[in-house]
C-alpha cells in the first residue's frame, strides 16, 4: 500500500497541486473568487455543456454497439477470433492525429459515405461520436467480455431448469454478475470521452471545444494559469462524481463469482439467431474498426508510381535530403517498445499492489478513497501533469525534467487505473474462504496470494498489462512534453512527419502509423497467447 501511495503523491498529486496552486494563489493569498469568475463566463459554460453531453452520447453509443460484441467474443468460437480481438484494441492506442486522418477519409469529402450516399459528417458531432466508439470499442469488449467469458454458463442453465425464462435467467443470473464490469467499462468510456482531446480537435473543427481542449489552450498557449486551474478543478469534481457513483454501484453487488476457464464457455454459434448475431457484430467491427484502419494501410502503400513499399523503404534512412530526424524513423519503434515495457512493469507493480490492498476485507473507508484516487489521472489532462512536472521535479535529487524515466512514469500514471479496474472485479470475486484455507494450512500472506489469487487473476493481469502496454504505445500527451529528440516515440514521429508538406513525409507518416498498428496488434496477440497451459487447472 505504501508504494502506490508514495508513487501517486510524488508523480501525480504534488505536481498537479503545484500547478493548480500557482493558478489560484496570488501574492501568497488564495483567490477562490476566481472560481466563480471563470465559471460565470458564457464561453466556459458552453464548453462544459458540450463536454458533458457528447461524453454521455458517446458512452451510450459505445455500449450499444460494443456490448453485443463483448457477448460474441466471450461466448462464441469462430476462426480468427484471437486476431480480431487484438485488432479491435489497436484503435485504442493509435495517436489521435492518425485516427482523425482515417476518419476524415471515411466521413469526409470523397469518403466512403460521401460516395455511397452523399453524406458528409466531418466537422459534425456525429464524426466525434463515431470516432469515440472506434476508440473505446475495445474497452467494453475487453473488460466486459473478459469477465463474461469466465462466467459459468451452467448457472444460467440451472436457472432455466428451475423454470425461469431465457430473459429472466439472464437478468437474474448473468446480469448481476456482469453489472460491475459493465459499470466499470461505461465509466472508463465516459472518462475517456469526457476528457477527449485530439478527436474533438481534428474532427470537430474549431467550433467544438471540450474541457480538455480548453485546459490545454489556457495552459500551453495562453499561460492563463488561473483559468486553467479552475477548469482542472471542475474536471476533478466531475471525475470524482463519476467515481462516487461507480463505487456505489460496485458496492451494491459484490458477490463472489464462480469463475471458470474461458475455453469451456465458448463454442461455435448454433442456429440462425446466433449466426445472425455473430454476423452483425462482425459487420459492425468491419465498418467501424477495420475500415478506418484499412484506409491508413492503403494510403501507406499508395505511391505516385502505383502501389508499393517505397514509403517503408524511406523510413530506414535518416533522410539524406534534409533530415526530419537525427535517427531513422524506424528507430522510433524500438524506443516506443522500450518505454512501453518500462511503463507496463511500473503500472503492473503499482496497480497490482493497489488492487491487492483494496480487496482485503479490512480495507476501510480510507482505502476506498484511494481506489477513487487511482482513477483521477484519467481525468487530468496531460498538459496539467506535464507542466506540473516542470515546476516540481526541478531540483536534485529529483531533477527529472530532462530524464527519459519521466515518459514511462507519466504513461504508467494512465496505465495504473486500467490495471486496477481490470484486476479488482476479479480479485473481489475470489472466494475469501480459499485464502483463509490457505492461511490455516500455514501459508504466509504472500504465499497465499501467489497460490490462490494469482492463478485466478492471471488472465486479468494479462488483460491489464495488455491495456497498460497499449496505452503507453499510443500515448502522445506526456511524451510531447518530455523532450528527447534523439529517441522519439512512434506517435511523436508520426506527428512530426504529418507536420511537414511533401508526398514522402505524408507517405512515411501513413507507413509509420501502419507499423504502429502492427506492433500493437502483435504485442496484444502475444499477450493473448501467453496464457500458459496451467490456466487449465481452474
Amino acid at each position: 500500500m505504501a508504494l502506490p501511495v508514495a508513487f501517486f503523491a510524488l508523480f501525480f498529486a504534488y505536481p498537479v497541486a503545484a500547478i493548480v496552486g500557482r493558478g489560484l494563489r496570488a501574492d501568497g493569498v488564495w483567490r477562490f473568487g476566481r472560481i466563480g469568475e471563470v465559471l460565470s463566463r458564457p464561453d466556459i459554460l458552453d464548453v462544459l455543456w458540450f463536454t458533458t453531453w457528447q461524453a454521455l452520447a458517446s458512452t451510450a453509443l459505445t455500449l450499444l454497439i460494443a456490448l453485443p460484441g463483448a457477448y460474441v467474443f466471450a461466448r462464441f468460437d469462430f476462426p480468427g477470433k484471437q486476431l480480431l480481438r487484438a485488432v479491435v484494441t489497436v484503435p485504442f492506442v493509435l495517436p489521435t492525429v492518425v485516427v482523425g486522418t482515417a476518419f476524415l477519409a471515411l466521413l469526409g469529402r470523397g469518403g466512403l459515405l460521401d460516395e455511397l450516399w452523399g453524406v458528409r459528417l466531418d466537422t459534425t458531432v456525429w464524426a466525434i461520436l463515431l470516432a469515440h466508439v472506434f476508440f473505446n470499442y475495445a474497452v467494453v469488449v475487453r473488460t466486459v467480455g473478459g469477465l463474461w467469458s469466465q462466467l459459468d454458463p451452467r448457472q444460467e442453465e440451472a436457472a432455466r431448469v428451475l423454470g425461469a425464462g431465457r430473459l429472466a435467467a439472464w437478468r437474474r443470473v448473468t446480469l448481476p454478475a456482469l453489472a460491475p464490469a459493465v459499470a466499470a467499462a461505461a465509466l472508463m468510456v465516459f472518462l475517456f470521452t469526457f476528457t477527449s482531446f485530439g478527436v474533438v480537435q481534428i474532427l470537430g473543427g474549431p467550433a467544438y471545444s471540450t474541457l480538455e481542449v480548453e485546459i490545454y489552450r489556457q495552459t500551453a498557449q495562453l499561460l492563463d494559469l488561473p483559468t486553467a486551474a479552475v477548469l482542472t478543478l471542475v474536471q476533478f469534481a466531475a471525475v470524482g462524481g463519476i467515481l462516487a457513483v461507480h463505487a456505489w454501484t460496485v458496492r451494491r453487488r459484490e458477490t463472489a463469482l464462480k469463475l471458470v476457464d474461458p475455453a469451456q464457455t465458448s463454442r461455435p454459434p448454433r442456429g440462425a439467431g446466433q449466426r445472425t448475431l455473430l454476423g452483425g457484430v462482425l459487420l459492425s467491427v468491419l465498418l467501424l474498426v477495420l475500415l478506418p484502419l484499412g484506409v491508413l494501410v492503403e494510403r501507406s502503400l499508395d505511391t505516385s508510381g502505383g502501389y508499393g513499399f517505397a514509403f517503408y523503404r524511406a523510413l530506414q534512412s535518416a533522410d539524406a535530403n534534409g533530415s526530419t530526424f537525427l535517427v531513422p524513423p524506424l528507430d522510433a519503434i524500438g524506443n516506443s517498445l522500450r518505454y512501453a515495457l518500462a511503463a507496463t512493469v511500473i503500472a503492473l507493480v503499482i496497480g497490482g499492489l493497489a488492487a491487492a490492498a483494496l480487496t482485503r476485507r479490512r480495507a476501510g473507508r480510507l482505502v476506498r478513497g484511494f481506489d477513487a484516487l487511482l482513477m483521477l489521472p484519467l481525468g487530468v489532462s496531460a498538459v496539467t501533469v506535464g507542466f506540473g512536472f516542470l515546476i516540481t521535479l526541478d531540483r536534485p535529487p529529483l531533477d527529472l525534467r530532462t530524464s527519459w524515466i519521466l515518459v514511462p512514469l507519466a504513461q504508467a500514471l494512465v496505465g495504473v487505473p486500467f490495471v486496477v479496474r481490470t484486476m479488482l472485479p476479479v480479485l473481489r470475486a475470489v472466494d475469501d474462504r480459499l485464502r483463509e484455507a490457505a492461511a490455516v494450512l500455514g501459508a504466509s500472506p504472500l504465499r497465499a496470494w501467489r497460490e490462490v489469487d494469482l492463478p485466478l487473476v492471471r488472465r486479468a493481469v494479462l488483460v491489464a498489462s495488455g491495456f497498460a502496454f497499449a496505452v503507453s504505445l499510443g500515448e502522445f500527451g506526456a511524451t510531447v512534453f518530455i523532450a528527447r529528440p534523439d529517441n522519439p516515440t512512434l506517435p511523436v514521429a508520426v506527428a512530426r512527419l504529418l507536420g511537414r508538406s511533401g508526398e514522402l513525409n505524408y507517405g512515411q507518416a501513413m507507413a509509420l502509423s501502419t507499423i504502429l498498428m502492427l506492433v500493437c496488434a502483435v504485442s496484444l496477440l502475444v499477450l493473448e497467447r501467453i496464457r500458459t497451459d496451467r490456466s487449465g487447472e481452474f
Binding site: 480537435q201 474549431p206 498557449q221 499561460l223 534534409g322 499492489l353 515546476i391 531540483r395 504472500l446 508538406s501
Partner: protein
Amino acid sequence: MNTTTKYAATALAAALGVSVLAGCGGADDGASGGGAGGSETVTLVSHDSFNASDAVLKAFTKETGYTVKVLKSGDAGAALNQEILTKGSPRGDVFFGADNTLLSRALDNGLFTPYKAKGLERVAADTQLDAGKHRVTPVDTGDICVNYDKKYFADRKLDPPQSFDDLLKPAYRNLLVTENAATSSPGLGFLLGTVAAHGETGYQDYWKKLKSNGVKVVDGWEQAYNEEFSGSAGGKKAKADRPLVVSYASSPPVEVLYADPQPTEAPTGVATGTCFRQIEFAGLLDGAKNEAGGKALLDFLISKRFQEDMPLNMFVNPVAKDAKLPELFTKFGATVDKPATVAPEKIAENREQWVQSWSSLVVK
C-alpha cells in the same frame, strides 16, 4: 503487507533496472563539467520544428568543444510557456523559437540574459527587433502566405489570387481553407496579416466578407494542408477540393523535395501579396548553467555555416546577409518583397482580443 511491499519494491527496482539496460537512452548526459576530454554540454531548448544536420552540430563541437543537446517540447507557444514557468531554473542554456508574435511575452517575463552575438553586423537590420538591448538574437525568417494549386487554376484558365483583396472575389468563392487562429501559428499569422493590411478596425469587416465568400476554417496546419488542400500530396489522395490554403512561402520547395520522382516545376505556388513575416529569435536563458557555452551557441546560430544549413532542415530563410540560399529555394521558392508585419508590442497588447473577435466572427 510488509512482505508484499518488499516484494514489490524489489520488482520495481528490477523493472527500472531492466529498462535502463534496455537502453532507453538512459545514460544521463548532463553537463559533465568538462572532464579530461574537455567535452562540455550546452543545452538548446526549442519547439518541435527545430532541426539541424548532424554534420553542422559536429562542426560546432569541433570548433568550441561543446556538445549540443537539443530538447524539444511542443509547439512554439507551448515551448515558450514552459520556459516562462521554469524561469530561474531553466532546463537548458539557450532557448530558440520565440517568434515576433510571442516575443513581447518572452521579454516581459525577463527570460533572457542580454548578449550581443558575434557577427551580428552581418544580420539584416529589419530583423533585429531588440537591437537596443540584445536580449534576443534573430535566427531565421519565414513567410506565412496563401498557397495555390497550380493545376486547378490552369485547368480553369483562371488567374490565382495575389492579394488579401483578391480573396474576396466571387471567382474564388469556397476555395480557401485556413487554420484556427487560436491554436495554429499559420492561422494566427494570416489573421495578423489581415490586421496589417486592413487596420485594427477594418480587419473584422474583411473577415466578414471572407466568411461570406466561403472560407473554411480547420483546426491545424496538418489538416488544412494534407486533407483539405488539393495541391498537396496528401490532399490529392484525400480528393481534397480546396485549391487555396494558408501555409508557408517555403511549402512549394518542400513539395518538390519530398516528391518521388522530383518534378521540374513545383505543383503549388505562392500568392505573394498575402504574406505575414515571422521572425524567430534565440536568447541566452537567465540562470543558464553553461553561460559560456550558450554564448558560443548563439554566435554559431548566426554563423554562415549554420545559416546555410538551416533552410533545408527547417524550411526557413536565413537572416545573415552572407548566407546563400540553396538551389531548391531559388528555383522553386517565391520571394516576398513586401510582407505584412505588426509590431511585437502591438501584437502582445491586442492578440487575445483579435483572436477572440475573430473566433466569434468566423468560427461560432
